[in-house]
C-alpha cells in the first residue's frame, strides 16, 4: 500500500511532464487530420469523377493503407523510407529524421485513405441533378465540383469525419514506438520509474478520453454552424 502511495505521489509530481504530452498528441492529430483532408478530398474527387484509371489508382491506395497496420507503417516509414529520403540533399529542408514527422505522415496518409471514402460516399449521395444543373449553366466540371458538389458533400461528411477523428486520435498513441513524446510515451516512461503502471494507464486513458470529447464537441458545433437552413430537422421525428 505504501508503495502504491509513493508511486501515486511520484506520478502526481510528474503530471506537468505528462500533460506536456498533450501538445504532441494534439500536434499529431491536427497534422494528420489536415494531411488526410488535403489528400482525401482530391482522392475522392478522382475516385468519383476521374474515370476508370483514376478509380483504380485510388482504390489501390486505399487498399494499401487500410490493409497495413499503423504500427508496421510507422516502422516502414521511420526506419525505412524516411531514413532513405533523409540522405537526399534535395529534401534536406524536411525534418525527415524526426519521429513526429514520420508519425504525422503515416497517420495522415492512412487517414487520407479513410477520409477519401467518407467524401466519396457523401458525393455519391448527392442527387445527380446538382451536377447536371451546374453543367447546364456553363460551369466547367472543376467549377461545379468546387462550388456545388464539395460544399454539400463536406457538410454531409462531418458526422463520419468526427468518427475518423476519434479513431485517428487513438491510433496516434502508437507514435510512442518511434520516439514521439506524446501522452502515451510520457505515461509509460513515468511508469517505468514508479513501477506502478495502473494509475498512469488510467491517467492516459482519461487524457485521450478528454481529447476525444473536446474534438467531437467541436465538430458537433461545426456541424450545427454550417447546417443548411431548412434541413435543420431532417431525419428527426
Amino acid at each position: 500500500m505504501e508503495g502504491f502511495l509513493k508511486a501515486a505521489l511520484a506520478s502526481w509530481e510528474a503530471l506537468p511532464y505528462i500533460l506536456g504530452g498533450l501538445w504532441w498528441t494534439a500536434g499529431l492529430i491536427l497534422g494528420a487530420m489536415a494531411l488526410g483532408l488535403a489528400f482525401g478530398v482530391p482522392l475522392a474527387v478522382a475516385h468519383v469523377y476521374g474515370g476508370r484509371l483514376a478509380r483504380r489508382l485510388v482504390s489501390g491506395y486505399v487498399w494499401l493503407f487500410r490493409g497495413v497496420p499503423i504500427l508496421v507503417q510507422l516502422y516502414l516509414f521511420y526506419f525505412g523510407i524516411m531514413a532513405y529520403l533523409s540522405e537526399l540533399p534535395a529534401l534536406s529542408f524536411l525534418p525527415l529524421s524526426s519521429g513526429f514527422f514520420s508519425a504525422v505522415v503515416v497517420l495522415g496518409l492512412t487517414s487520407a485513405a479513410y477520409q477519401s471514402q467518407i467524401f466519396r460516399g457523401a458525393m455519391q449521395s448527392l442527387p445527380a441533378g446538382q451536377l447536371k444543373a451546374a453543367r447546364a449553366l456553363g460551369l466547367s466540371d472543376g467549377q461545379a465540383i468546387r462550388a456545388i458538389i464539395l460544399p454539400q458533400a463536406l457538410r454531409l461528411s462531418i458526422p463520419a469525419w468526427s468518427n475518423e477523428y476519434s479513431i485517428l486520435l487513438k491510433d496516434s498513441a502508437l507514435a510512442f514506438t518511434i520516439g514521439v513524446l506524446e501522452v502515451m510515451a510520457r505515461t509509460r516512461s513515468v511508469a517505468a520509474v514508479t513501477h506502478q503502471p495502473l494509475p498512469l494507464s488510467i491517467l492516459a486513458g482519461a487524457l485521450f478520453f478528454f481529447l476525444t470529447w473536446a474534438g467531437i464537441k467541436t465538430l458537433k458545433r461545426l456541424e450545427a454552424k454550417v447546417r443548411i437552413p431548412g434541413y435543420a430537422h431532417q431525419g428527426t421525428l
Binding site: 444543373a133 453543367r135 466547367s140 443548411i228
Partner: protein
C-alpha cells in the same frame, strides 16, 4: 417570316444502353418561337432537350446555334453553348446549399465573371422578375415547389440565354402551384424568349406555341400548329393523346385555351 433559325436540330440520333432513344430528330426554332414537345413518357422528350445542350451528347446529328454548328468535342464550345442555352428541369435542381439569390448569382460569378456586387444586383433583378424579390435569403428547403421552379427560371435567365429549354417544368408541382410557374412562362413567351418546352400542359401551351412536335418512340411523328392538330376532327395523334390526358385528369375538353 424567313428569319433564320436561332436553334437548329438536325438528324439527332441517341442510343442509350443499346436502345435507340432518339431516331433522326430534326427541327428548328426561330427567334421568339416556342416549340412544344408532346408525347407519352419514354418518347424521348427529355433526352432530346439534354442533347441540345450536350448534357447527354447526341451520337450523331448537328446542333446549330445562330447558324453555327456546335462542336461537341470542344470543351470551350460546349461551355459557351450552355451559357447561351438555359435549362429548366422537372425537379428544379436548385443548389441545396445556396440561398435563392446565391443560386441565381453563382453562374454570374463563375461563368460570366461578374464581380460579387454586380452579380448580386443582377440576381436580385431576376428574382424580382419571377416575383420573388422578397425571398432572396431563403434556401431551397424553405421554398415551395412553385417558388423553387421560379428561382430556377431566374437562375437560367440571369445568363441572358438565347434559348430556354424547359423539361416538364410543372410536372413535379402540386396542382395549386402550377399556375404561378405557367404565368412566368407566359410572360417569357410574351417578352419574346425563344423556348423549347416538353410538357403535358397541352391546352396551356397551345395558346403560346407556334408549333407542336408530337414525339413517340424517339421520333417526331406529327408536327403542326396547335390549332390544326387539336381541332376536333383532325384525327391527329396529338388530339387523341390530349383527349386521353384530359379524360384521365377529369377536366373539361381538350380545347385551345384562347
Amino acid at each position: 417570316m424567313d428569319q433564320p433559325a436561332i436553334l437548329r436540330v438536325e438528324n439527332i440520333v441517341k442510343t442509350i444502353g443499346g436502345q435507340r432513344i432518339l431516331d433522326d430528330v430534326s427541327f428548328a426554332v426561330k427567334k421568339g418561337g416556342l416549340k412544344v414537345l408532346i408525347g407519352p413518357s419514354g418518347a424521348g422528350k427529355s433526352t432530346l432537350l439534354s442533347c441540345i445542350n450536350f448534357l447527354s451528347p447526341p451520337d450523331s446529328g448537328v446542333i446549330s446555334l445562330d447558324g453555327k454548328p456546335v462542336n461537341g468535342k470542344s470543351k470551350k464550345e460546349l461551355l459557351a453553348l450552355r451559357q447561351q442555352v438555359g435549362m429548366i428541369f422537372q425537379d428544379f435542381n436548385l443548389f441545396d446549399h445556396l440561398s435563392a439569390m446565391e443560386n441565381v448569382r453563382v453562374a454570374l460569378i463563375k461563368v460570366k465573371g461578374l464581380d460579387k456586387r454586380a452579380a448580386t444586383n443582377r440576381a436580385m433583378e431576376e428574382l424580382a422578375r419571377v416575383g420573388l424579390a422578397d425571398k432572396p435569403s431563403l434556401y431551397p428547403a424553405q421554398l415551395s415547389g412553385g417558388q423553387k421552379q421560379r428561382v430556377s427560371v431566374a437562375r437560367a435567365l440571369a445568363l441572358d440565354p438565347k434559348v430556354l429549354l424547359l423539361d416538364e417544368p410543372t410536372s413535379a408541382l402540386d396542382p395549386e402551384l402550377i399556375g404561378e410557374v405557367l404565368t412566368v412562362i407566359r410572360d417569357l413567351a410574351d417578352e419574346g424568349m425563344t423556348m423549347v418546352m416538353a410538357t403535358h400542359q397541352i391546352s396551356f401551351s397551345a395558346s403560346l406555341a407556334d408549333e407542336f412536335l408530337f414525339m413517340e418512340k424517339g421520333r417526331i411523328v406529327e408536327r403542326g400548329a396547335p390549332a390544326v392538330l387539336l381541332s376536333r376532327n383532325s384525327g391527329s395523334r396529338t388530339q387523341s393523346f390530349c383527349a386521353k390526358l384530359s379524360e384521365l385528369a377529369g377536366d373539361a375538353s381538350c380545347e385551345i385555351a384562347s
